[in-house]
Structure formats: C-alpha cells, structure tokens
C-alpha cells in the first residue's frame, strides 16, 4: 500500500517536504491558507503529484500530518481536526513573521508543547524543524542519493508509538532520526539553541544537542529545569 502524508502549509517548508515526500514514494496531500485553487499552479510546477486540497480534507485523508505553517497561525485550525492522528510539528518561532511572542520564547515550555496542548486529542511529535528548508532538500538522501553522508533530523515526542512512526517517516525522507526523550526536550531544537539551523550527521547533532547550554536561551532552559 502506498504510504501517505498530509501537509498543512504550502509555503517554503511545506513545498520542500512535499517534494521530498513525493520522491520517497509517498502520496502527498497539501493545504495552503486559502483555497486549493490558490496553490494549484505552485504545486503543479514545484511539486507535481502533490494533491492540493483543503486542510480539512488533508486531515480527513491522512493519519500522519505535518504542520508547516507559521507558528502564530496553528490556533486558527480546529483543535480537534487531527483527533487520534500523529502530527509532526515542523514549525518554529520566527518573530519577523509571528510578531514578538513571549509564549513562543519560553525556556520552561517548548512551542511544540503549546501545540500539543492545543491539539490535545492528537500525538504531537517535533520533527523537521531544525534544518533550513533549502538544506532539507539538498541533504535528503532520497532526493540526492549521491550525497556522501546521511544527515540527522531530531525527533521529540511523548508517545512512543507516534515517535516510532515519525522516525520511520524521517528515514523514508532520507535522514537519520535522532530520538530525544520527550516533547519537552524539543526545547533544545528551538531558535536560540545551536541546533537551530543544524545540518549535521547524527553524532554531531547529538553533540550540538548535549551542549545546548552554550547559548543564553539554553542556559535559561537548564535553569528552568532546576526550579
């Protein structure tokens, strides 16, 4: 049976993940912020084969969904639209787009935890957030089999089965999954940590995550843990 993936968000990241998914043999469904017609030309040219539909249809037709919309927009989706599904959170706080948001920059509470709190009937797993979207396309060993090494994508979630499913998707997409211990640990992959933007092999990514206290945001995370 053909594997399926749904993507919410048809911007730079959503399109790249659609391209990789198609290359990996997945059936890809994607929704932008407007009507499917609005993105149909973009998809036909940039990710031919990806099916443009509404976010509701994407949710209905897929068990595994990637969130690739601006972080400040996720609460515009229905909180129960992904009920029982595995949701990959690839979003990041980007203040140039999201505006200044203290809740997205909180060392005590990761943005993926906010996403989990909102979609409380779904299994949120943080993945594909720390590598730049252009790098994702260049580094995927499925897209570029001639690459000399396989790069790592960190995966952070609380539900073991969901994490396992996401790790399999990461592998299918041409990366090595590096599994962190909890969704909360996804804090170590956020902007302000040296892992953000990381385009590394698995051992180097591990080192980068372990040295998260090198930055001031990392120190704030460590301090929050002790409280």
């Amino acid at each position: 049976m053909t594997k399926k993936i749904g993507i919410i968000g048809a911007g730079k990241l959503g399109i790249v993940l659609a391209q990789i998914g198609l290359q990996a043999g997945y059936e890809v469904a994607i929704a932008g912020s407007g009507s499917p017609e609005k993105i149909s030309l973009t998809m036909a040219v940039l990710a031919p084969g990806a099916k443009a539909m509404t976010s509701l249809e994407v949710a209905k037709q897929n068990d595994n969904i990637i969130l690739a919309l601006p972080l400040s927009k996720f609460a515009q989706l229905d909180s129960d639209m992904f009920m029982g599904k595995v949701v990959l959170d690839a979003m990041n706080y980007w203040w140039e787009v999201d505006g200044k948001r203290d809740d997205f920059n909180n060392p005590q509470y990761g943005t993926s935890e906010l996403v989990q709190e909102y979609f409380n009937s779904s299994y949120i797993v943080k993945a594909f957030n720390h590598m730049g979207y252009h790098d994702l396309l260049d580094e995927s060993s499925i897209v570029n089999p001639e690459n000399s090494s396989i790069k790592a994508i960190a995966v952070a979630g609380d539900d073991a089965i969901a994490v396992k499913k996401v790790a399999a998707i990461v592998t299918d997409f041409g990366f090595n999954p590096l599994i962190l211990s909890s969704l909360h640990d996804g804090l170590k992959l956020q902007p302000g940590i040296n892992t953000f933007g990381a385009d590394l092999e698995i051992d180097d990514l591990k080192i980068a995550i372990d040295s998260y206290t090198d930055t001031s945001f990392g120190q704030a995370i460590a301090a929050a843990k002790l409280q």
Partner: protein, 263 residues
C-alpha cells in the same frame, strides 16, 4: 514597500529618476525584515494584505496616468495625477522575491519582472521558481520578462584578501541577523562552501567572474546584481569592490558568456 506608502515611493523614485537621467530602478519587496511595521503603526497580521494592496496601487502608478484606487490600507485615490512624471514614461520596477511562490505569482499577476534574492546555497535551487514565474505569466496572460538575481559579494585583488574581508564583514553580518532570529552561527566550512559553490561571490576578479558566469548560465538569468556593502567594510573596501566589479569582473563575465555562445 509593505510599511511604506506607494505614492511616496513613486514620488521619490520618479524624482531620483529625473536627477539621475533615467537611471532609477525600483526593487519592490514585501519585507523579510519587519522592524518597520511597529515603527509606522502597521500590524504584522496584515502582512499579506499590505503588500498585496500596495503592489496593486503601485502597478497603477507605474502607468503614469490618472489613478483611481480604493483599498483598506491607505486613503483612496480618485482620478488623480501623481508627479513628477518620468522622462521615459515608465519607471523601471522589479519585485524582489526570496523563494515565496506566492510572491512570484503575485509579480506575474501585476505584470512586473522579478529579481531573485539569493543569499545562500546553490543558485540552481531557484530554477523551479523561475519555471513557476514563466508558467504563471503564461496562465495569466501577462508579459514574461527576463529574470534577474542578486547575491552578496566582496572583490579584492586576490582571493585571500577578499576572503578575509568577507569573513569579518559579510559573515559577521549574517551571524548577527541569525542571532536575532535564533539561528546558529555560520561555521567556516559553511562559509567556504558558500564561496566555492554557494551564493557568496568572494575572491579576485577572475574568481568572481567565473562564479557569476556559472550562476548566470546555470540558472538562465539575464541580469546579475552584486550586493557589495555587507557588514563593517570600510569605504575603501566597498569602493574597491565596485571598481573591480566594473573594470574587471563585468567584462570578464561578458567574455565568458560570449565565448560559450560561440562554442
């Protein structure tokens, strides 16, 4: 343009065009830096509508005929003339795009040419966006203009001298922006990759000419703009880049491209 006023933008550029004997060119951008939004009382939530409306109005202003326009982001215009007019009757205007497919389709919709802002990675990455622009103009029945690109660069008499300047100016500036956005600092490996095959045009005139010629051919663009002013370069260093670019790089690029056509 999102946080500026299209009428004022037109007035300023039309004035510049007159002073410079028709050499003014406008690069319109939605704004990847949004610091100006709160400065002038705009809400980031209106990011899309601001640019959409202002570009629509600006494309009308470009006709240099009486303009009637109505929207939500500024006062309406009812059959008004905007001055000064340009001597050529058409101010040269482009839409700068950084890889947002929406921006590309929007530029095609308003019949404006695009400039690709390529600030990192292999320029070939932008090929699909060029195809998108072409397809969009075909579908919308709007003119298909030649496409341009811009990238950062530093030119000096030797590769080493240019490298040193770029390392302490361009890299530091990129890291500063990255830090503000939570991005990890650039490694030396990454910096060197950008110079070798990516989007930093750093080196001696011959090195830079070869890289630019390769990018122009690889992408099939018709125009290349060098962003020469990044970071803490001294006026003398900036002037050096400008001078070498004009006197040595451009003729060499033209020669390389001409030779390949003759081959």
């Amino acid at each position: 343009m999102s946080s500026d006023d299209p009428v004022r933008v037109f007035e300023r550029f039309a004035t510049l065009d007159a002073i410079s004997h028709g050499r003014a060119q406008v690069m319109l951008g939605r704004g990847s830096f949004t610091e100006s939004f709160p400065l002038f009382g705009f809400d980031l939530q209106d990011y899309e509508i601001l640019f959409e409306e202002k570009l629509a109005l600006f494309s009308k202003l470009l006709t240099e005929k009486p303009v009637t326009w109505q929207g939500t982001t500024r006062a309406a215009l009812n059959d008004v003339e905007i001055f000064p007019k340009t001597e050529s009757g058409q101010l040269e205007a482009y839409v700068g795009v950084g890889g947002s497919p929406e921006s590309i389709i929007r530029a095609a919709r308003y019949g404006l040419p695009i400039m690709l802002a390529i600030i990192g990675g292999s320029p070939e990455r932008f090929k699909p966006y060029m195809r998108l622009y072409e397809k969009a103009t075909e579908q919308l029945g709007t003119p298909k203009y030649p496409i341009g690109m811009h990238s950062h660069g530093v030119i000096a008499p030797t590769d080493e001298a240019a490298y040193d300047i770029a390392w302490r100016s361009l890299r530091v500036q990129m890291d500063k922006i990255g830090q503000e956005r939570g991005w990890a600092p650039m490694t030396r490996e990454r910096f060197e990759k950008e110079i070798a095959t990516g989007s930093y045009y750093v080196g001696s005139p011959t090195t830079v000419a070869q890289r630019i010629a390769r990018a122009i051919k690889g992408l099939g663009v018709n125009r290349f703009d060098l962003v020469y002013s990044a970071g803490n370069q001294t006026p003398a260093e900036r002037q050096q880049t400008i001078e070498l670019y004009a006197k040595e790089v451009i003729p060499q690029v033209r020669q390389i491209l001409a030779e390949e056509i003759n081959d």
